[in-house]
């Protein structure tokens, strides 16, 4: 791994550099806690944030858009199907380590199984990821985060192009680590300077300290994985989880690893329709409803069972090489019924170990 130093005042020079070749997205402050990723323009460039709470709407959408056109169908005398092409080069500045792990999960899912998803591949091949390590416990790290347990953070070990970490010293230094040759090539620019072993030691110190700042150091989901895989969780327990679900689907829409989608055709002109795919959520009651009305997963607790089985079942962990939970804590923050990942794991543990007694 190659490392360099960069001064905090020079960080936006990385953005400027990227903007020559890429459409760049970066995080900004909205009102209060509200933060969001947006396209960087000349107007908002100076408002880019390095330390801020991770936006709820995940940057997953830059490799797997919320709504994506698959192809256009032209009707008429000679009907034709025209597949959508999107070879735009994109870069995300300030993506957190949990979201990097989320993208690795998408890679495994969309590209690692029998069929390769060409639409995902096109987006993935054209993206440049600048990871920012969550080092400011007061701002970056949320009460709901548990990446330390998911083993995805606070500093990603792989799958980024460039990683930036605030060394929190009075010289305003950031340590930059290159994960790919194209990021290493950026080190030729003069605003990157040599790092010393002392800086690397400082990095380790911050990470060690940072790990202690998490409220949820562990969510115990290795235990939950065992209970789920071995079928030890009773239907009554799932009903308890299901009773708290409002079926809004919010957990799926903020999840960096959720992959389900639905497709639909929509009219775009007098003789033209397009097929799009849209994120879907297993919490929604229509998720498994077939034509004719039969719904094999009608009960809400069956659908909650499904979500956590898919996220934590050993078979899927083996297949994607990681649990489908990266510990970003977004589902904890958005869930009205308080059944985000750590809380469900807690319910499963208590109910299963406590012999199904009331909690």
């Amino acid at each position: 791994m190659r490392a360099r130093l960069i001064h905090k005042d020079d960080l936006l020079k990385i953005v400027d550099l990227l903007r020559k070749d890429y459409e760049v997205y970066a995080p900004f402050y909205g009102r209060d806690r509200d933060t969001y990723f947006d396209t960087v323009t000349d107007a908002n460039r100076d408002a880019i944030q390095v330390h801020l709470p991770n936006p709820y709407y995940p940057p997953k959408r830059y490799v797997y858009p919320h709504i994506q056109r698959l192809f256009t169908i032209r009707k008429g005398s000679n009907p034709a199907i025209e597949p959508a092409q999107d070879a735009r080069k994109r870069a995300v500045f300030g993506i957190r380590s949990c979201d990097i792990a989320g993208i690795f999960h998408l890679d495994r899912f969309f590209l690692g199984n029998t069929y390769r998803d060409n639409y995902y591949e096109a987006f993935r091949n054209n993206i440049f990821l600048v990871n920012v390590v969550c080092s400011d416990a007061a701002v970056d790290i949320d009460d709901d985060c548990f990446c330390v347990c998911a083993d995805t953070g606070p500093a990603a070990r792989d799958h980024f192009d460039l990683q930036l970490m605030d060394l929190h010293n009075d010289r305003g230094e950031f340590l930059a680590v290159a994960g790919t040759p194209r990021a290493e090539a950026m080190f030729d620019h003069s605003f990157f300077t040599r790092a010393t072993p002392e800086h690397v030691a400082r990095r380790r110190e911050i990470l060690n300290d940072g790990r202690k700042r998490f409220k949820l150091a562990t969510s115990w989901y290795s235990a939950a994985t065992r209970f789920i895989t071995e079928g030890m969780v009773t239907d009554e327990t799932w009903q308890k989880v299901g009773n708290r679900c409002l079926e809004c689907g919010g957990c799926s829409y903020v999840c960096p690893t959720c992959t389900c989608f639905t497709t639909t055709d929509r009219r775009t002109g007098s003789n033209e329709t397009e097929r799009i795919r849209i994120w879907d959520a297993c919490a929604l009651s229509g998720f498994t409803r077939m034509a004719g009305g039969h719904n094999p997963r009608k009960a809400v607790h069956d659908r909650r069972n499904r979500r956590f089985f898919r996220k934590l079942g050993y078979y899927f962990i083996q297949r994607e090489l990681m649990p489908s939970c990266v510990g970003c804590g977004r589902c904890v923050s958005v869930c009205h019924g308080d059944i985000g990942m750590p809380h469900v794991v807690e319910i499963l543990r208590r109910e299963t170990l406590g012999g199904g007694k009331k909690t």
Binding site: L70, F71, I73, K75, P79, A80, I81, P83, F109, F110, N113, T114, Y115, R116, D117, N118, Y119, G231, T259, C260, F261, T262, T263, T264, D265, R267, T273, R275, R277, D280, C282, F287, T288, R289, M290, A291, G292, P296, R297, D302, R306, F309, R310, G313, Y315, F316
Partner: protein, 281 residues
């Protein structure tokens, strides 16, 4: 079709040749691919596989493949039940629609070589099993005894009547029909499919036999109970599952049951596998 098509979700253009009424609300659609090469590669399908069919402007749906790969013509049979099937029923000969596939595992007909085949179908459950029957008959010398048990609600609900007539005259295998409720014209057996098993003269071999079952859930339950009583093993009973599907290639997530994706791991499962999926069917 290649295992790794360049574009996973792009259907190939197909042309509707002919529409035939089967029974009420059920039609058969004969079609061919616009491109000869697509036609050639598609024809490698196996009984039990399915295709994703697009009616442009309305959507896409999975349909099982009733023809056998040993036949010349390609066709789908579907009941008018939802939005896309309704749009399909409104198509006229000459209209274009989209097809991609074949998908799914299909029945492993090679593994069944030298075995007895018992095919039990109810109502439109005959659609996926028609492929098996024709395939087995076209490879008659490779299988032992072949028995078909088919039942529908009334004589008017019997599917593929031309085939049924042929099959009943064919001496090479046994074909038994029944209806739940006869009418004036019906002089055959009356009763649910399971009653055929006990009909005098019917002998079902239990050893070295694979049983194919497809039909409505009620029929499925009763037939299973009957077969269990006759000592058929779960591993030798196969069926195809249906699920809401949007991709057919294991990506959209809708058809997942327990560990299995119905589209890529199925839709054909043995009863033993179905019992282990861990969810309601």
């Amino acid at each position: 079709m290649t295992l790794h098509p360049r574009n996973l979700y792009e259907p190939k253009m197909a042309v509707l040749d002919e529409v035939r009424d089967e029974i009420q609300d059920v039609k058969t659609f004969y079609w061919h691919f616009e491109n000869q090469q697509d036609q050639q590669s598609f024809r490698s399908f196996m009984p039990g596989q399915f295709a994703q069919v697009s009616v442009f402007g309305t959507g896409e749906m999975p349909l099982s493949l009733p023809p056998s790969p040993t036949e010349d013509r390609l066709f789908f049979t579907t009941r008018r039940v939802g939005r896309v099937t309704a749009a399909m029923h409104d198509l006229k000969p000459g209209d274009r629609f989209g097809v991609r596939g074949p998908y799914g595992n299909g029945f492993p007909m090679q593994e069944y070589l030298g075995r007895n085949l018992i095919i039990v179908a109810g109502g439109i459950g005959l659609i996926p099993l028609r492929s098996v029957i024709i395939y087995a008959l076209d490879n008659r010398d490779k299988y032992q005894k072949i028995q078909v048990f088919y039942g529908s609600r009334t004589p008017k609900d019997l599917m593929y009547v031309d085939n049924l007539k042929e099959w009943q005259q064919d001496k090479g295998f046994e074909c038994y029909l029944t209806v739940d409720q006869g009418d004036g014209s019906w002089n055959g057996h009356t009763g649910v499919v399971g009653t055929l098993f006990k009909k005098p003269g019917v002998e079902m071999p239990v050893e070295n036999t694979t049983v194919f079952i497809c039909g409505p859930p009620v029929m499925f339950r009763f037939v299973l109970a009957d077969l269990k009583k006759m000592q058929f093993d779960d591993r030798n009973m196969v069926s195809t599952l249906e699920r809401y599907m949007k991709c057919g290639v294991g990506k959209c997530g809708h058809c997942c049951i327990g560990l299995a994706y119905v589209c890529t791991d199925g839709p054909v499962f043995t009863l033993e596998q179905i019992r282990r999926l861990g969810e309601e069917i």
